[in-house]
Symmetry: C2
Subunit: 297 residues, 2 copies
Amino acid sequence: MIKEVESLMHKYIAGVDPFALKLYENISCGKRLRAKLILKIASDSKEAVKLAAVVEMIHAASLLHDDVIDEAVTRRGTPSINATHDSKTAVMLGDILYSKAFYELSYFSSFIVQKISDAVTKLSVGELLDVTYSNSLQLDEDKYFDMIYKKTAVLIEATASSAALLAGKNIHAYGVYGKNLGLAFQIIDDVLDITSDSQKLGKPALADFKEGKTTLPYIYLYKSLNESDKEILLKLYKKELDNDEKKWIKSKMQESGAILKSIELARKLGYEALEAIEEDKSLDLEKVIKEMIEREF
Amino acid sequence: MIKEVESLMHKYIAGVDPFALKLYENISCGKRLRAKLILKIASDSKEAVKLAAVVEMIHAASLLHDDVIDEAVTRRGTPSINATHDSKTAVMLGDILYSKAFYELSYFSSFIVQKISDAVTKLSVGELLDVTYSNSLQLDEDKYFDMIYKKTAVLIEATASSAALLAGKNIHAYGVYGKNLGLAFQIIDDVLDITSDSQKLGKPALADFKEGKTTLPYIYLYKSLNESDKEILLKLYKKELDNDEKKWIKSKMQESGAILKSIELARKLGYEALEAIEEDKSLDLEKVIKEMIEREF
């Protein structure tokens, strides 16, 4: 079924412009988490493949613009479009994917059109918040959760509830499932930036803090440190870290329990996600949550 | 009525994010050609103001991304967002305006949603073509017209036919009107780059050829030159021009009739635009065409 999604995306972009297609073929296709989710929730619906293609095009567009905004040179271990070509090209290809996705989206029912397009607006605001919060140390947990909700969870929430609508399932329950899955996904992503290595991640490790991003483990860590350690941590903010400094952060993260506390919160969100769709008892959707939380990259 | 459009746009963006609103307030608001067109075609429709706000948000988003792509530092005489802030911010604000516009668009009838979103896809492809064609001398008239249709005319075409639908007027006729208006508009823009001065334009004059853009007057000029003058012109392609070279281009453009021929084509398109909507005999829409062709900036 994922193959069908891939070939539909290919067909959509081929229909827009041959050069855009050539550029698109250079993008690493990623985990296709959102497409898999739709296909699992709405496996019997004819429209599921189409919705999956639309949502994956939106996600791909957002990553292209993300990489321009973050000036990232790699994405999933391969060079990003703004590295192989330039940021112009990444902006243009992103716009093409976004707008073609909206065009195809317009054939769905108004609930789905509004849900997904509202999610994209929030997603763009989430990116703006992420950048704004990177200007200085941001230790407010509420702001962190609002930002990751917009940046990551809202599109998964909209995706899951739209798929539920296609399948005649409980829209609200699947919305909660998607939202919690998205939040947990982002928290694990932020944990892996600290605990995993560059090779596994396909991008530099310990990059968030250097880029000014105070993610949940850093918020927890800061709160647990004594005054002199707080000062050390502050001095490392936005700094190119040497090996000793990297070790210091990694060991403080473990010692203080900041990593464990973050993972436990992700697990709790995952558990609540499953609770929301309990009446459906889907082993497949349980597996999605588990794989996502236990992943290493 | 334009005031109502402005305040609705303000309300939409305020509803999305306060920081985005602050950024938005720094953008020069431009001629609002598209909004005026909608209000003139569908003056009696309650939805006209809303459609105008949506289309102007899309247009503003496309200009923000345009300026990133063209690395333009001024827009309508004021510094562009990518100059006052950075290109990241321009990409993010553009994404917010695009997605909020799509969200509000989704409340319209499916004809309008599809017409406008298809236009945005073509608009993005038009920008890609514009950049691709700037890599080397592009002397093919058909390619030029296809590019300006996508870059400029298609959104005006979609706007005019959508407004006609709201007003219960002839959709096809107003589509032709909008398409021709858009093509003529872009041709005049390309002429003014050569004949007008930087102060009037609010951006550097004679910039297109330097940026690699072979616009219609250059295509006409090249074809009319003898071999030695062709060689001179080729040497000036993508070059920072000194005063003598600027004078040479300007005088050859006049001598060869390339400017006049371009203006005459724009007039012809304007005439055909009016012919298409003849049965409505709208003095207002005649004025739009005239002002657009006779403008100096």
